[in-house]
């Protein structure tokens, strides 16, 4: 039986792109796009960059102009939380209401992790409202910001806060900033850059808890008993997939939503974006990617594959989702860009291209697994030039051959 409806849960980058792709492929049935935030779909990367820096007002983060949204003819339900999913019947529950669907795309993303037992008053940064709250706290220079976590988010905020004239201390258990994303070699280079810009890095330190001053976080207590105090505290210790609303169902929720290489979690049920873990056919392992480009690409892929499953005659056959993962980060004046798979590298070959200014590093690196180059990273390299690195890992190349690309960049 067909209901003529596809529901997309999560109205952000992945969900909106999925909706657009459905229309573009020719789906003329109903599309219910459900998002629990009150805002029209907006973009997150600018939150820790232009918005926090005060360069952009919130409206600029909107993902689509009003008329483009209208043109999609959506049943757009903002401020609406999906509370459950009846997987075999493809029924999305919205509290009392139930939507019967031909297919469902889950794009609920991730939520910021809190410190265990965290007191009130500490900031997190995931949504627009979080960004505006933190921005308000940093409105006047000369504050002291304590950032817990040295991942991409933590160090991006550190950079903006320094540029706004605040004192910044970053505390994290890792040995280097972004160590999990880019490894220790590149992380050390980033550490140097942040120190050159006046960030205090307290690496290799465990945070034991927040110091709470009547509902206002005024610092953190470290495992050794010492304290770091400040005017504001940002908790940036990673995220957890937003899957609680699915927990009573049959889906594999071990780390996000488990999917096959077509982004299918169950018949007629697909997932995309930060929340989706799928079997990557080229990397030959399950991956879950919390980066902006993947949200878009996977939103499109999930939409296409769902349509192909519903009506192969009309929409063609399903295709495996095998993107070249990509992320970027902006810190001070330099850009960090990564292509491919940098995790669990057997070897990292880092080439420093220019060391005149430690605050403006310039470097490129390749990441080897087995005999092939699987990942590539650039720091402070102009993006057009850095694209050469993509070629080296788009289909993993023999290591020695890939190293040639580094030589070319260096020359």
């Amino acid at each position: 039986m067909t209901t003529g409806r596809i529901a997309i849960v999560g109205a952000s980058a992945a969900g909106l792109t999925a909706a657009e792709a459905l229309r573009r492929e020719g789906w003329d049935g109903r599309i219910s796009l459900i998002g629990d935030e009150p805002h029209e779909p907006y973009d997150r990367p600018p939150l820790s960059k232009q918005v926090l820096a005060g360069k952009w007002e919130p409206e600029r983060t909107g993902l689509r102009a009003a008329d483009a949204l209208t043109g999609l003819d959506l049943d757009l339900r903002l401020g609406t939380t999906a509370t459950g999913l009846d997987v075999p019947n493809r029924r999305v529950l919205l509290g009392e209401e139930a939507l019967d669907c031909d297919g469902v795309i889950i794009a609920t993303g991730v939520a910021a992790r809190a410190l265990p037992g965290a007191a009130h008053g500490a900031h997190v940064l995931r949504g627009l409202d979080d960004a505006l709250a933190l921005r308000a706290r940093l409105a006047n220079p000369g504050r002291r910001l304590v950032i817990v976590g040295a991942g991409v988010l933590g160090v991006e905020v550190a950079a903006v806060a320094r540029e706004l004239g605040h004192e910044v201390v970053v505390v994290a258990p890792e040995a280097a900033p972004m160590e999990r994303a880019v490894g220790i070699e590149a992380g050390d280079l980033l550490a140097e850059a942040h120190r050159a810009h006046g960030v205090r890095l307290r690496l290799g330190e465990l945070v034991d808890g927040l110091l709470d001053d009547g509902g206002r976080a005024r610092g953190v207590r470290l495992a050794d008993g010492s304290e770091l105090t400040g005017d504001a505290v940002l908790i940036a210790i990673g995220c957890t997939p937003a899957v609680q609303w699915l927990r009573d169902g049959p889906l594999d929720l071990a780390d996000g939503i488990g999917c096959d290489s077509y982004c299918a979690a169950a018949p007629g049920i697909y997932a995309a974006g930060d929340v989706a873990r799928w079997h990557h056919p080229v990397l030959r392992r399950p991956v879950r990617i919390e980066h902006r480009m993947n949200a878009t690409e996977q939103g499109m892929a999930a939409a296409r594959n769902l349509l192909a499953e519903l009506d192969p005659e009309r929409f063609g056959t399903r295709r495996e989702f095998a993107p070249v993962p990509y992320f970027w980060s902006d810190q001070y004046g330099f850009k960090v860009q990564a292509y491919g798979d940098l995790a669990d590298a057997d070897q990292v070959q880092l080439r420093v291209l220019d060391k005149t200014d430690p605050g403006a590093p310039k470097a490129a690196a390749l990441y080897r697994r087995g005999d092939s180059a699987f990942g590539a990273l650039s720091i402070g390299v102009p993006p057009k030039q850095a694209r050469a690195l993509r070629g080296a890992v788009a289909t993993p190349q023999p290591w020695e051959q890939a190293l040639g690309v580094l030589d070319e960049l260096a020359s």
Partner: protein, 64 residues
């Protein structure tokens, strides 16, 4: 088809160039998108639309 770009949003991902190299390029110094053809011919519409959708910063806007 009419394409507009918002340089200020662009993060230099280069996805648009991969999709439609006849329509988009990147500035050498900072990677910001360069529009080569604001009104591409019909055979480039499909690729241009893909670029619009894939751009991770929504920096490309297409109107009919």
């Amino acid at each position: 088809m009419k394409i507009t770009i918002d340089e200020d949003r662009c993060c230099g991902a280069g996805q648009c160039v991969l999709e439609a190299p006849d329509v988009f390029d990147q500035r050498a110094e900072d990677g910001v998108v360069v529009l080569l053809d604001a009104a591409p011919p019909a055979e480039l519409h499909e690729a241009s639309r893909s670029a619009e959708q894939l751009c991770p910063t929504a920096a490309i806007e297409i109107s009919e």
